[in-house]
């Protein structure tokens, strides 16, 4: 369960038996398809989730950048993001394991809503931990979780965001571990989570690879995916890792700057793969945004879903190995990417996803003749943020919303 020196199981002893039980279940059900687990998983992903998702040729972007750009449409998955692959897999696994309660953490609310949906679908009681700050700024996602029947537990400690919510969910799990499964939302946490979450998301690159071969008769020159914790990233990369000729580019949130304020404990970015230092957080050894003492930094990105101080240990390993190239894109370029995809292709992407398009725009010559971009989620959740953040800036691509102010007639 390690990726080079990364990974491992750095958790309180009380959780270790659950981790061992989970490892056993992962190996039997996921790796060995015991009791037809993977068959049921794939069937539900198809019928409930809407898989396979298309690989779409992007007419306008291809013309603009003079390279063939294909979009992997994970935004079309039920719930609006790739997150369901993992949530559905883990809730189903919990059911196979005989657990009768689900808990999960959520930051922007995407993993929480996916988990709540999966839990409702599979008739499992579900509680979601979410920072108080995040609850207040992500109301629609809180509504969705509640509508799906999940309890939402506010976490008030610290800044009240994702990393506090993860810690809090681990605390719940330490108390209830015998009956409860903790659905971690990314390829982070103690082994077997990083492997298991990757395997549930592997279907993304599995389809991409097959669609690429079917459609183009060849593999792409590069695959681009945004990277926060890294679940959509590893999902999009997993099946290409052995294809050495395919460049794998992880686009991190450069935020407002790559420099760090040690005194305040704030990194105005979440470029963990590019700038992070090896350490231990939330159960795994991986690259982290931390100060020189080892205290974890408050990360920042305009995109809440990338806003995490850690990253999946497998990605940290693949970066060290030179297999994955970490790059980063700032808030402004991400917002421009958001507007460009919305206006030119008719797809409103998640702000997370938009980072990948920001990179493409800045480096159109670096992606080869054929590039596949993982559109990890849709941007409906980001509308208010985007409008607010766009108004603050002087962007190359822009849109004004004066229709609300105007009161004149149409003719």
């Amino acid at each position: 369960g390690k990726f080079g020196q990364y990974g491992g199981q750095y958790v309180p002893e009380a959780l270790m038996p659950a981790i061992e039980e989970l490892t056993d279940a992962y190996e039997r059900y996921v790796l060995d398809n015991e009791d037809g687990f993977m068959d049921e998983f794939r069937e539900r992903l198809r019928d409930f989730g809407g898989r396979p998702t298309p690989l779409q040729y992007a007419d306008q972007l291809s013309e603009r950048y003079d390279t063939d750009v294909y979009l992997k449409r994970e935004d079309l998955l039920h719930g609006g993001a790739h997150k369901l692959n993992n949530a559905l897999g883990q809730v189903l696994l919990a059911k196979y394991m005989g657990k009768d309660r689900i808990i999960a953490e959520t930051g922007a609310g995407q993993h929480g809503t996916a988990t709540a949906m999966a839990a409702a679908h599979l008739d499992m009681p579900c509680e979601i931990y979410m920072g108080r700050t995040d609850i207040n700024r992500q109301r629609p996602n809180v509504f969705r979780m509640r509508l799906n029947g999940a309890e939402v537990n506010p976490v008030t400690v610290g800044r009240g965001t994702l990393k506090e919510a993860i810690s809090e969910t681990m605390r719940d799990w330490a108390t209830t571990v015998e009956t409860t499964h903790y659905v971690i939302g990314s390829i982070v946490g103690p082994d077997p989570f990083p492997r298991m979450v990757r395997d549930f998301h592997r279907v993304i690159s599995d389809e991409m690879r097959e669609q690429s071969l079917d459609r183009l008769g060849r593999l792409p020159d590069s695959v681009l995916a945004c990277a926060g914790g890294g679940s959509n990233t590893m999902g999009a990369f997993a099946e290409f890792v052995d294809d050495d000729a395919v460049d794998l580019v992880a686009v991190e949130a450069g935020g407002s700057s790559l420099t760090v304020d040690e005194d305040e404990g704030v990194a105005p970015n979440s470029a963990t793969l590019s700038t992070g230092v090896e350490g231990v957080l939330h159960g795994a050894r991986t690259k982290l945004l931390q100060d020189s003492d080892g205290q974890i930094m408050e990360s920042h990105s305009v995109s809440a879903g990338l806003d995490y101080a850690g990253v999946g240990p497998e990605l940290a390993y693949l970066v060290d190995e030179g297999r994955v190239t970490p790059v980063n894109v700032g808030d402004d370029a991400a917002l421009e990417g958001f507007h460009r995809l919305s206006q030119e292709e008719g797809i409103i992407p998640a702000l997370e996803t938009a980072h990948a398009f920001g990179y493409l725009h800045e480096n159109p010559d670096a992606v080869g003749d054929v590039t596949l971009i993982n559109v990890s989620g849709r941007g409906d959740k980001d509308l208010e943020t985007v409008i607010e953040e766009t108004e603050k800036r002087d962007l190359d691509v822009d849109v004004e919303m004066s229709v609300f102010e105007s009161s004149g007639g149409a003719m």
């Binding site: 002893e13 108390t175 015998e178 020189s292 080892g294 974890i296």
Partner: protein
């Protein structure tokens, strides 16, 4: 089994050990010095001195809040070592913190520089709640090198092979977690204690029980159930928190801590007498 003679000595006396916890630097450096010294005066045999980490995943809200207060007041690993040096106490101190702080300290990654410095300032061992036995080899090696002990936590869910692995790694004492969950004072002390203790009956380290011990009677009960020591954190941190909230003079809070420590120590002693009576010793 023990590396550190001072820590070993604390458990070798013919009475149960009282092992209080406080977060170093809570609510600030100077007050915290007073508070820790008050615990020693109150009868502490060993003190678990927390080095605050920003993501304390094993702690309940009480200690979590203490950690936030200490961090806000500027506690860092280097200040922590100063703190240990500044303390005027005559009981062994065990550092309780999270692995990342040990891992990052000094010029090279890995726990050795931290352990070296810890030995230098006179700490006697470590409790690292997010470091299970499986991942502990580097820290174990450094502890052995510098004659410090490495305490592990045995949870109610710990069984079979996991116990064996831990038994190989543990030294100083074993921290027996009285119930599932995170740290935090509760009115009940689980009956699980006896069961948990019976699982590690033949281990050659002292068994200290923690989680949920709040009053002298709780301490008495777990000692009667066979514990060699009683670990108390949240009930003491609560006193610090209340003092901070009410803006009480440091001396008053220190007095309350000393009184509480005394009550707990006496409870432990009472438990030992009751156990002796019950076994006809």
């Amino acid at each position: 089994m023990a590396n550190n003679p001072a820590l070993a000595a604390a458990f070798e006396r013919d009475e149960p050990a009282f092992v209080p916890y406080l977060a170093a630097g809570d609510p600030d450096y100077d007050a915290s010095i007073e508070y820790v010294e008050a615990l020693a005066r109150g009868g502490a045999d060993v003190i678990e001195l927390g080095l605050p980490f920003s993501e304390p995943i094993a702690e309940g809200t009480t200690i979590q809040d203490a950690i936030v207060r200490a961090l806000d007041a500027g506690m860092t690993p280097d200040r922590y070592f100063e703190f240990v040096e500044d303390l005027d106490v005559d009981v062994p101190l065990v550092c309780m913190t999270y692995y990342n702080l040990l891992y990052q300290y000094g010029d090279e990654l890995g726990p050795r520089p931290f352990v070296e410095k810890a030995a230098d300032v006179g700490l006697t061992g470590f409790v690292v709640p997010d470091l299970p036995a499986e991942e502990a080899d580097p820290l174990r090696a450094a502890c052995d090198e510098f004659d410090l002990d490495l305490v592990f936590i045995v949870a109610p869910t710990t069984r079979g092979e996991r116990l064996d692995r831990m038994r190989e790694q543990v030294s100083g004492y074993v921290y027996v977690q009285a119930r599932l969950g995170t740290t935090g004072a509760r009115d009940d002390v689980s009956d699980q204690t006896e069961v948990s203790l019976s699982r590690i009956d033949d281990w050659d380290v002292p068994k200290a029980v923690g989680f949920g011990i709040k009053e002298g009677d709780h301490a008495a009960r777990i000692v009667r159930a066979g514990a060699d020591g009683a670990i108390v954190g949240s009930a003491l941190v609560d006193i610090v928190a209340a003092g901070e909230e009410n803006d009480d003079p440091v001396a008053d809070v220190a007095d309350r801590l000393e009184t509480k420590a005394h009550e707990l120590k006496q409870g432990a002693l009472r438990g030992a007498e009751q156990r002796a009576e019950a076994s006809g010793d």
